[in-house]
Each structure stands twice: as structure tokens, then as C-alpha cells.
């Protein structure tokens, strides 16, 4: 499929270097319109840089970004919603007027901005703080305010960089609900997160990045099934023998149980493991996204 032929976001062979260091190295992925997409990867993988390039905050050294079939324009990206990973708001200005200002920068009129801000303040239980200085708000409430700033103008595409970081479970649920609502209203959402559990629940497709390169990409179910046949859980009748590492790429160990990815075929591995030590249980399991993440990153590193 040629770049930019699909509806939605199309990132094609993106390259960005900083002082000779390649932060993004030929990254390609597509985000289907109206879907929730997970951009995953360890710290420093290059996720924030990719988002900044798409948002037009940074220029790319190579590659292209298409939106709805045409090269993305600065005007378009400025209308996108963005929750940066590094949070921060003005401290000495009042909550409501600050959000109205940020909404107006996104293109809303004064009346529209005021109405939407009031709606979201109510939704997040922040109406009582509307005329307070932002520095008087708790950290969690400031996070919510930032989330409002990202979605208040009902953008067609929203970038959420670690939206759950620093939020308590109750507020995480509210944010997840709102993500669902925004998607139902037709918004395309790109979610960058370490929280694999949330990504697994929310995303239709993912792209796993490490050291600026795509390690894994595709629909969640495809990714899982491609890894699924390879992941086993083995419980030994006694201690886990050291030789296990010859047959499995170990993801996790618990007491006498080891979870890992097959290095060879299923049958020869089972046979070999039984010969090493008595096996109580041998399960082929669908891996969690977290396991895929760890395995992929470890595999990349080795």
C-alpha cells in the first residue's frame, strides 16, 4: 500500500537525528481512522519524538506523515489534541481562563471555548476550582486539567502521551471512559503508554518501538497470535533447572513456574524439558501485551 493511501494517519519511514544520534530510525505505521492506536515502547525509545514530529513541533530529517491521504499540514496538526508526557500548566493563572485561552489557541471562539471548558470542568468535578489559581490544585487535578486542554476542542485526532501517569484508579477510569466516548464520536486516538494492561484494553492496533525502530506492528489480535504459539508456561516438580534458558527465552519466573518464548519447535522443547526435570504442567498460552513487550524488547537488546 503506497504511503498516504489510507484514511487516518500514515507515518512513513520517519527519521530524526539529534547531534548525530538517531532517535527515530525509519519508523513506519498506520493508524486507522476512528481507532485507538497504541504507540508502545520503553523509555527513550523515541515515542515522544515521533509524536512531536507528527504534531509539527519538531521537523523530521526524513520520511513523511500523511493524514487522510495527503501530506499533513501544520494547520491540520495544530488542530489535533495533544497531551504531552511532560506535564505542566501555568501556575499563577486561574483554571477556567487558562483552559479557555488554550482552547482558543486551538481555534475555538470565545463562546465555544467557554462552553466546552465548563462542560469538561463539570465532567471532571473541577467546577469548584474554576476561578482558583492552578497552583492551588492538587497534582491529580492539574493532570485532569491538562487532559481537558487536550480534548476540549473535540479534535479529529488526539495524541495522548502517558495519559494515566500519576492518576489514581478512579480518575484513570474516567479518562478511559472519555477516550471511549471520543472514539465513539469519531476521533482517532494515538495512545503512548507503558501501561500494557490499559493499552491491551483500549487499543485495536499497536506499534512497539525500541531504540527508534519498529519492533512489532499490527492489529492486537494478530500480534498476539503471532506470539501466542511461541509462549509457554511450564511448572516443574521442584526447582527450575538452569538449562531451561537453552530452550526458552524466559519472560518471567514464579517459584517453580517459568513463562517464556520457545526458541525451537514445541515438541522438541517439551521433550527436552521433561528430560531435564519432572514437569507438572505445560501450557501454551496467549501472551499478555506486557509479556510481548518484554520479550520483544529483550529480543531486540540481545
Amino acid at each position: 500500500m503506497p504511503p498516504g493511501s489510507s484514511a487516518g494517519l500514515d507515518v512513513h519511514r520517519l527519521v530524526k537525528t539529534f547531534d548525530g544520534l538517531t532517535a527515530v530510525n525509519g519508523v513506519t505505521f498506520q493508524v486507522e481512522r476512528g481507532s485507538v492506536f497504541g504507540l508502545l515502547g520503553p523509555n527513550g525509545a523515541g515515542k515522544t519524538t515521533i509524536i512531536r514530529i507528527i504534531m509539527g513541533i519538531l521537523g523530521a530529517d526524513g520520511g513523511a506523515v500523511h493524514y487522510d491521504g495527503h501530506p499533513i499540514t501544520r494547520l491540520e496538526s495544530r488542530r489535533f489534541g495533544y497531551l504531552p508526557e511532560e506535564r505542566g500548566l501555568y501556575q499563577k493563572t486561574r483554571l477556567r481562563e487558562t483552559l479557555v485561552y488554550l482552547a482558543r489557541l486551538k481555534g475555538l471562539t470565545q463562546t465555544e471555548a467557554t462552553d466546552r471548558v465548563d462542560h469538561y470542568l463539570a465532567r471532571f468535578d473541577l467546577t469548584a476550582y474554576a476561578h482558583r489559581n492552578i497552583q492551588a490544585l492538587s497534582k491529580g487535578n492539574q493532570q485532569k486539567a491538562q487532559f481537558i486542554a487536550a480534548v476540549v476542542h473535540q479534535p479529529s485526532m488526539i495524541f495522548l502521551d502517558e495519559p494515566f501517569a500519576g492518576l489514581d484508579p478512579v480518575n484513570q477510569i474516567i479518562i478511559k471512559e472519555i477516550i471511549g466516548e471520543l472514539q465513539a464520536a469519531g476521533a482517532t486516538i494515538l495512545l503512548s503508554t507503558h501501561q500494557m494492561e490499559s493499552a491491551e484494553r483500549l487499543c485495536r492496533a499497536i506499534c512497539l518501538i525500541d531504540h527508534g525502530k519498529v519492533v512489532l506492528e499490527g492489529g492486537l489480535s494478530e500480534v498476539k497470535s503471532s506470539y501466542g504459539e511461541r509462549c509457554v508456561e511450564v511448572t516443574f516438580d521442584g526447582a527450575i533447572p538452569n538449562e531451561v534458558a537453552q530452550w526458552l527465552q524466559v519472560v518471567e519466573t514464579r517459584k517453580n513456574t517459568v513463562i517464556g518464548n520457545l526458541k525451537g519447535g514445541l515438541a522438541p522443547t517439551l521433550k527436552a524439558l521433561v528430560e531435564l526435570s519432572p514437569v507438572l504442567e505445560f501450557k501454551v498460552r496467549e501472551p499478555t501485551l506486557e509479556e510481548i513487550f518484554i520479550a520483544a524488547v529483550k529480543g531486540e537488546q540481545s
Partner: protein, 412 residues
């Protein structure tokens, strides 16, 4: 453009209603009014209290003469003498001195005068007080003794009484300055103070605004709001909006100051600045602000905290402080070659030209030339600042070096 307008409005409104703006804007005119009125108040004769004195005078002639003139000239509001004499009982000079010294020690007198031997010829007097100062009282006493001595000399030389009366008068001295075809009455102190007051206003307004600009950029960088802003508008719009918004804050402040100084000046009968002068003042103030705003914006985008930026700010403030330090020289030598040449150095232009325009007639080509040069220099600085701002604004955790900045500017 809409985004730049929104940023400008925001920056203007949040600063103008901040407590800091209110306090600094009120304090500054108070300082100016203080500067105008302090010297005037200091020279107010009513404030001189006077005190009891003794006069060590072996001849006994001078004590009476001086006393007479003192009572004639200096009396308190209720008509009592300001300098009553405490009599000395000893006849010889040494005895009188010891007596006066004891009186001074006891606090009975505030000071004593020692009239030297053969005073009519030698004209030597010593003033001894407990607390060294008392300059205004000393000045009054000095004048009275001088007068007494002169009158005695005139008498001794048998000068006609008519001539005596003439000599006793003081001549009238009025000072005028010509500007173009007009002529205005002037006052040396006022001629000296007025331009300095305007330079101070310019200095405060330009630096108040550009320092706030820098601080606001550093704050947006350290609280990371800048990333959110740059996702909504270009760095160019952001910088333009901020510079214009804070420039308006400065302009508001200048307007307040100009009104206050004019009103305060009128209150003291001091002619402040002409309408034409205000035009020049605003022109140089605006140019000066844009120039320093560009520099401070660039510096702000390079640092994450104000402490980090402190050293560079200190260095930068030296440039505009120079004309403040040398302003008294510029006021007295507005047409010297050094001042003329220095006026063409853009960072100094506004400050020097304001003084010169208030004090003297500046040739049209100098005004035109300095303005043109400032515009060119400011446009160049704005461009460079734009490049530095764009490049550095999202660069965290890295100390930028000068060669790097030069590279950006060259590449941009």
C-alpha cells in the same frame, strides 16, 4: 496571526492585573516624585532649626555686631531669634574658649564661634559644634559673619552710605535657554534632573518588560507549557505575541509615568517634556524595547531556570546601565564627539538620544541615522532571536554553547 494576537492579549491581561505590575508601577513614580522633591525639600529654609551659640571674641566688638545681624536675618516662626547668644564671662580668649567648650559639652549651646585676633584684617573664624554636620545652620552663620565683616570693612574705609546701600544689594540672576526660536526660563538643577528622570523611566520600562518577557519564557519552559503551546501555534507566533503583549505592558507603564511626571513637574513648576519630546521618547522607547526584547527572548529560550540565566542577565544589564552612570556627563556634554559616536551604538542609542533631545538641539540626520540604524539592528536581532528561540525552546537538559548558537544562526 490570530494566534499571535491571542498570545499578546493573554500576556498583556495577566501581567497588567498582577500585583507585581501594580506595585512596581506605583513605586516607580513615587521614586521619581521623590527624586524631584527631595533636593527641593532639603533646601527648604524653614526646616533649619537654629540653636544657641556663644562667640569667643576678645575684642567684644564682633559679638554684638554679629548678634545684631543674626537676629535681623534669622528668626523662628514666632519671632524669637534662631541663634540666641549665650554670654561668656571670661575676658581673655583662652578663658572664653574653655568656658564655651564646657557649655558645648553640657549641651547648653549647639556650637560656638572663635573670632580670630585682628579679625577685621585677618578674617579668620573657627566654628566648633558637637555633631560635625549642621551644614545648613553653619551656612547661615557663615553668611552672617561674612556680611558683618564686609560691612565693617566698608565702614572702616569710609565709603559713602549711598554706595554702601548699593553694595548691600544682590544682583538679580535669571537663566534662559534657547531652543529653536523659542526661549524658556530655566533652572540649572531642573535642566540637570529632567533628562535623567526620562532616562530612568526609559530604563525601568524597557527592562521591566523585557525581563518579564524572559522570565515568562523561562517559566513556560520549566513548567513545560511551551510544548502544549507549540502544538497549537508556531514558535514565531508565540514569540511575536509575547513580545507585543509585554511591549504593551511597558507602554502602559510609560504612559502612566509620563502623566505622573508631567503632573508632578507642573506641581513644582518644573517644565517637563514637550509634545515633540514625547514623540521622540516613545519612538526610542519602542525601538529600545524591541531590541532588548529580542535579546532577552533569545536568552530566555536558552535556560530552564532563572538561576541558570542569572549570569548572562547580569552581563546584559551592564550595557544599559552605562548610559545611566554616564548620564550626568551626557547632560553636560550632549554634543561631544564621544557622546555623538556612542549614540550610534544601537544598545545605547535610546538612552543617549533621550538625554540629548531633552538637553540640546540634535541635528535631523543624527535622529534619522540613529533610528535607521536601530531599526536595522533590531530586525537582525529579532531574526536571530527567532532562530535561537525555535531551536532551543524544546532542548532540555543540555547546556548550549556559544559556538552552537552561532551555528544555528548561520544555518537559520
Amino acid at each position: 496571526m490570530r494566534a499571535a494576537w491571542l498570545v499578546m492579549r493573554w500576556e498583556y491581561l495577566i501581567r497588567i492585573r498582577s500585583k507585581f505590575f501594580l506595585i512596581s508601577t506605583i513605586l516607580m513614580p513615587l521614586l521619581i516624585v521623590g527624586m524631584i522633591s527631595l533636593p527641593v525639600l532639603l533646601f527648604e529654609e524653614e526646616d533649619v532649626q537654629g540653636f544657641t551659640i556663644s562667640i569667643v571674641d576678645e575684642s567684644g566688638v564682633w559679638t554684638e555686631r554679629i548678634g545684631q545681624l543674626l537676629d535681623e536675618r534669622h528668626s523662628t516662626a514666632d519671632g524669637a531669634p534662631m541663634y540666641p547668644r549665650y554670654p561668656l564671662f571670661n575676658a581673655d580668649q583662652q578663658g572664653q574658649r574653655n568656658e564655651a567648650s564646657a557649655l558645648l559639652e553640657a549641651g547648653i549651646i549647639g556650637a560656638y564661634l572663635v573670632i580670630g585676633p585682628r579679625f577685621e584684617e585677618a578674617g579668620k573664624v573657627t566654628f566648633i559644634a558637637r555633631d560635625g554636620g549642621r551644614i545648613f545652620e553653619q551656612e547661615q552663620l557663615h553668611r552672617v559673619v561674612q556680611k558683618t565683616w564686609t560691612l565693617a570693612a566698608i565702614e572702616r574705609h569710609q565709603v559713602e552710605s549711598e554706595l554702601l546701600a548699593t553694595l548691600d544689594q544682590t544682583i538679580s540672576w535669571k537663566s534662559y535657554t534657547t531652543r529653536g526660536s523659542g526661549m524658556t526660563e530655566s533652572d540649572a538643577l531642573q535642566a540637570f534632573m529632567v533628562p535623567i528622570i526620562y532616562v530612568m523611566i526609559l530604563f525601568f520600562a524597557v527592562f521591566f518588560s523585557s525581563q518579564i518577557l524572559m522570565r515568562s519564557i523561562i517559566t513556560e519552559r520549566s513548567n513545560r507549557v511551551v510544548e502544549l503551546l507549540l502544538s497549537s501555534l508556531t514558535s514565531r507566533d508565540l514569540m511575536t505575541g509575547k513580545i507585543l503583549g509585554l511591549g504593551l505592558v511597558g507602554l502602559t507603564q510609560i504612559s502612566i509615568y509620563l502623566v505622573v511626571t508631567s503632573v508632578a513637574g507642573a506641581g513644582y513648576g518644573v517644565t517637563m517634556i514637550s509634545a515633540e519630546g514625547i514623540g521622540y521618547f516613545l519612538l526610542y522607547a519602542i525601538l529600545g524595547y524591541f531590541l532588548y526584547a529580542a535579546i532577552y527572548a533569545a536568552v530566555g529560550s536558552l535556560f530552564e531556570t532563572e538561576q541558570d540565566a542569572q549570569q548572562v542577565i547580569g552581563l546584559l544589564s551592564l550595557i544599559p546601565i552605562l548610559p545611566l552612570i554616564f548620564s550626568s556627563y551626557v547632560v553636560t556634554h550632549p554634543d561631544s564627539l564621544t557622546v555623538q559616536i556612542a549614540s550610534f551604538f544601537p544598545p545605547l542609542t535610546p538612552f543617549l538620544m533621550i538625554i540629548r533631545l531633552v538637553v540640546t538641539d540634535v541635528a535631523w540626520w543624527e535622529v534619522g541615522g540613529t533610528v535607521l540604524l536601530m531599526i536595522l539592528f533590531t530586525v537582525l536581532m529579532m531574526r536571530w532571536a527567532g532562530i535561537i528561540f525555535r531551536t532551543a525552546i524544546l532542548l532540555y537538559g543540555k547546556r548550549v554553547t556559544l559556538p552552537e548558537i552561532m551555528r544555528w544562526v548561520k544555518a537559520g
